[in-house]
C-alpha cells in the first residue's frame, strides 16, 4: 500500500517542458531513499493549468506544485516526502489573492468554477493503467449496457440527456445514433473523430492523452446501441502521445476481453482500429474523414446521403467527436436527468475549452453550459496579462467568429453563440487584447483555410483565395470602400455555394470581425491606419525625445536602419526599416513608438 502518490503531468504541454525527465528523477531518487514501497510516482494526463507547467500534485495532501524543474526534485523529496512540509515556494501563487500561495489545485480560482465530466479522469489516473480507470468506475457503464439495457434503451438515455455533438455543429447525439440503428444492415461502423485541427485547440488531444479508455468504452457502447461490430478512431499522427496511449489502451482492453469477439462473456463482439491522419484540416470534416479511412485522398462528398445512411465503405456509420464520447459513460452511469440538470435549456452538460492567447491562465477548462464568457476570461482565465484591455474572444477556430467585449455576459451555449455570429466549434478559445488588429486576425484564419482547402469545389478553392487578396489589399492600405462591399458579397457567396463545412464556414472570421469591428476595416481603408499598430505596411517606427542616444537599438537592428550620434537622438531610416520590432524590445527607455 503506497502512502503517497506523486502525480506528474504527462500532457503535451508539460511533456514538452521536460516533465518526462522530472518523473524519471522522482522515480530514481525515491529509490535511492529506499521509499519505493511507500511512494508511487504516476504519470497522468493534463491537469488543465498548462500556463504554469510542468505541474506535479502530491497526495494525500493534494499539494499542487507548479513550474517544477528537474533540479527541484531533491528539495521536494527532502522537504515534502521525507519531512512532510509543504514547499511553499513551489506552490501555485494566486494573483487574485495578492500572490498568496494556494495549496491544492481545487482551491484555485481557475479550478473552482469548473465542472469536470469529460475531463474527470484527466490528471487523476495513469492513462496507461487500465486498472486505475476501472477503479474510477471504468467499464461499469459498458457492463450496465450489456447486462441491463437493450440497445434502444441506451439510445433513449442518450437522447433524453440532451447531449449534442461536441465537435462544433451540435447535432443531438442520440438522434444520430437512432438514424444509424434504424438502418437495416448487417455491417455498420462507429467512428471517432480525433482529427482536431483548429489552431489553438487541444481538448480532444488532452482527453485522449489523459483518459483513452473513456473513449474506447463509449465507442463500444455506441456499437452495442446501433448494432455495429467495428470501430475506427481517426487520430492525427501529429499527436504522438495520444496515439501511443490509445495503442496501449486498445491492447489492454483486448487482453481484458473488453474488446473482441465475446466481450466479458456476453457474446457481444466489437473491436476498434486506429487510423492515423496526416494532418489535413479538411479530414476533420465527416465525409472527408471517412473517405480518408477508406484509403482515398481526403476529400469531402456531398450530403445527403448522410453517414448514418451511407457512410464508411457505404455502410451506415456514426461519427462522433472525442469529447462527445467522453460524456457517454457518465450519462449511462449517472442517468440522463443528471446530465440534463447541467447547462441551459437547449445545451446540456458541460463543454471543454482550450484557453489561449492573451490570457493569464492558458490551459484546459471544463465549464457547465451557460457560464458567461466573463467568468471564463476573468475568473477562470485570470484576466488579461500586462494590464491590457479585453477586446474579443475567438471561438470555433477558422470556422467561427469573435465575441466582442459587449457580449462578455452572454451565457455560452450553442444557440447563443450562433446568434451573435460565432459558433461553439470544437472548443478553442483565443483571447485577444487591444494590441490585436481584427483585420489581421481575420487574415490569419483565412490564410489557414486557403492553405487547407482541398480544392475539390471552386467557391472554396478560388473564392477564399480572392477573399484573402481583398484582406491583403486592406491591410496594405490600398483598398477602397467598394472593395469592402464586394468582399462582403463574396463571403456570402462562398458560404452558400461550398461543398463542405470547411468552405461554408471559411468566411466566418471575416464576417464576424466585419460585424463588430467595421470601424477597424474602415480605418485601414479610409485613413490608411492600423488602429492596433499591427499591419506592418501601415505603421512606422519612430524614435521620440525620450531617446538618450545609447545606441542599443542601432546595434540590434538587423538591417542597420537606425543611425545617430552617441548621446544624441537617433533616427530610423524608414526606407530600410522592416518593422521587426527588435528596437522596441531593446530600448530600456520606451523611446521608440509605433504609429
Amino acid at each position: 500500500m503506497y502512502r503517497t502518490h506523486i502525480l506528474v503531468c504527462g500532457g503535451t504541454g508539460c511533456h514538452s517542458n521536460n516533465s518526462g525527465k522530472i518523473r524519471e528523477a522522482f522515480e530514481e531518487q525515491i529509490k535511492q531513499k529506499n521509499l519505493q514501497d511507500d511512494v508511487l510516482v504516476v504519470g497522468t494526463g493534463c491537469f488543465g493549468l498548462c500556463a504554469v507547467g510542468p505541474i506535479i500534485i502530491i497526495y494525500p495532501e493534494g499539494a499542487f506544485y507548479s513550474g517544477i524543474k528537474v533540479e527541484d526534485v531533491p528539495e521536494i523529496i527532502e522537504e515534502h516526502i521525507v519531512k512532510g512540509r509543504l514547499v511553499e515556494k513551489f506552490l501555485y501563487h494566486e494573483k487574485a489573492l495578492g500572490n498568496k500561495p494556494v495549496k491544492a489545485l481545487s482551491d484555485t480560482n481557475f479550478y473552482k468554477k469548473q465542472t469536470r465530466v469529460a475531463l474527470r479522469n484527466c490528471g487523476v489516473i495513469n492513462p496507461e493503467a487500465i486498472d486505475e480507470y476501472i477503479a474510477r468506475d471504468g467499464y461499469q457503464a459498458l457492463i450496465k449496457c450489456l447486462t441491463e439495457l437493450d440497445p434502444q434503451q441506451v439510445i433513449d438515455i442518450v437522447k433524453a440527456s440532451g447531449l449534442r455533438g461536441r465537435g462544433g455543429a451540435g447535432f443531438p447525439t442520440g438522434v444520430k445514433w437512432q438514424f444509424a440503428k434504424n438502418q437495416n444492415n448487417d455491417t455498420k461502423y462507429v467512428c471517432c473523430n480525433a482529427d482536431e485541427g483548429d489552431p489553438g485547440a487541444f481538448m480532444d488531444r488532452s482527453v485522449l492523452e489523459g483518459d483513452p479508455h473513456a473513449v474506447l468504452e463509449a465507442m463500444t457502447i455506441a456499437g452495442y446501441a446501433i448494432g455495429s461490430h467495428q470501430g475506427y478512431i481517426y487520430v492525427r499522427a501529429e499527436y504522438p502521445i495520444a496515439v501511443d496511449r490509445l495503442k496501449i489502451a486498445i491492447a489492454q482492453s483486448r487482453e481484458y476481453g473488453l474488446l473482441g469477439d465475446n466481450i466479458l462473456g456476453t457474446g457481444f463482439a466489437f473491436d476498434i482500429e486506429l487510423k492515423l491522419g496526416s494532418g489535413a484540416f479538411v479530414c476533420g470534416e465527416e465525409t472527408a474523414l471517412m473517405t480518408s479511412i477508406e484509403g482515398h485522398r481526403g476529400e469531402p462528398r456531398p450530403r445527403p446521403p448522410f453517414p448514418a445512411v451511407k457512410g464508411l465503405f457505404a455502410k451506415p456509420t456514426i461519427l462522433n467527436n472525442v469529447e462527445t464520447y467522453a460524456n457517454i459513460t457518465q450519462i449511462i452511469l449517472n442517468g440522463a436527468e443528471w446530465f440534463a440538470s447541467m447547462g441551459t435549456e437547449k445545451s446540456k452538460g458541460t463543454k471543454v475549452f482550450a484557453l489561449g492567447g492573451k490570457i493569464v491562465n492558458t490551459g484546459l477548462v471544463e465549464i457547465p453550459m451557460g457560464t458567461t464568457l466573463r467568468e471564463i476570461v476573468e475568473d477562470i482565465g485570470g484576466g488579461i496579462p500586462n494590464g491590457k484591455k479585453f477586446k474579443a474572444a475567438q471561438t470555433g477556430g477558422p470556422s467561427g467568429g469573435c465575441i466582442p467585449a459587449e457580449h462578455l455576459d452572454i451565457p455560452i451555449d450553442y444557440d447563443n453563440l450562433i446568434s451573435i455570429g460565432s459558433m461553439m466549434g470544437s472548443g478553442g478559445m483565443i483571447v485577444m487584447d487591444e494590441d490585436n488588429c481584427m483585420v489581421d486576425i481575420a487574415k490569419f484564419f483565412l490564410e489557414f483555410t486557403v492553405d487547407e482547402s482541398c480544392g475539390k469545389c471552386t467557391p472554396c478553392r478560388i473564392g477564399n483565395r480572392r477573399l484573402l487578396e481583398y484582406l491583403d489589399k486592406i491591410t496594405s492600405g490600398k483598398a477602397t470602400m467598394q472593395d469592402l462591399d464586394d468582399m462582403e458579397q463574396l463571403c456570402y457567396y462562398i458560404k452558400s455555394n461550398s461543398l463542405c463545412g470547411l468552405g461554408q464556414t471559411a468566411p466566418n472570421p471575416v464576417l464576424s470581425t466585419l460585424r463588430y469591428f467595421r470601424d477597424e476595416y474602415e480605418a485601414h481603408i479610409k485613413e490608411h491606419r492600423c488602429p492596433a499598430h499591427v499591419c506592418k505596411r501601415l505603421i512606422q517606427f519612430k524614435i521620440t525625445d525620450k531617446c538618450i542616444g545609447c545606441s542599443a537599438c542601432s546595434r540590434k537592428c538587423p538591417v542597420n536602419a537606425i543611425s545617430g550620434e552617441i548621446k544624441k537622438k537617433f533616427d530610423i531610416d524608414q526606407a530600410k526599416c522592416i518593422k521587426c520590432g527588435q528596437c522596441i524590445a531593446t530600448c530600456k527607455f520606451g523611446a521608440i513608438i509605433k504609429e
Binding site: P60, K83, I143
Partner: protein
C-alpha cells in the same frame, strides 16, 4: 480474458489505491497528522505512520486520511499524532508507538 466479476474485483481492489487522490471531501474527513520532522522520525514516527496507513486499509475505513507534517515543536514528546475530526477540537497524542496508534484508531472508530 476477464469476466464481469473479475472487473468488479479489480475495481474494488483498486478503489482505495486511487481514492487517495480524491480530496474533494477533504474538509469532511477525519485527518490524522503524524509529526515527521527529524525528531519524530528518530523517535519512530515512520513505524507509527505505516501502522496507521496499513490498519486503515485493513479495516477498510473510509473518510480517514493520514498525512505527515514537520516538527510540531515539542520534540521530547515525539512521535506526536494529531487527530482532526471536523467540528471538534484537535486531539494531540504524544509518545505514540505502534500499539498506541492502533488504540487511537479504535477511539476514532468508536
Amino acid at each position: 480474458m476477464k469476466s464481469i466479476a473479475d472487473i468488479m474485483a479489480i475495481r474494488d481492489a483498486m478503489r482505495s489505491h486511487v481514492g487517495l487522490r480524491d480530496n474533494a471531501d477533504a474538509e469532511k474527513e477525519i485527518h490524522i497528522v503524524v509529526g515527521m520532522g527529524t525528531c519524530g522520525l528518530n523517535a519512530g514516527a515512520r513505524t507509527v505512520f505505516n501502522t496507521l496507513v496499513d490498519a486503515i486499509e485493513e479495516r477498510g475505513l473510509a473518510g480517514v486520511r493520514v498525512t505527515r507534517t514537520g516538527c510540531l515543536g515539542n520534540c521530547e514528546d515525539e512521535p506526536v499524532v494529531e487527530v482532526h475530526v471536523p467540528e471538534k477540537d484537535v486531539a494531540t497524542y504524544k509518545n505514540v508507538d505502534a500499539a498506541k496508534a492502533l488504540e487511537i484508531l479504535n477511539n476514532i472508530q468508536a
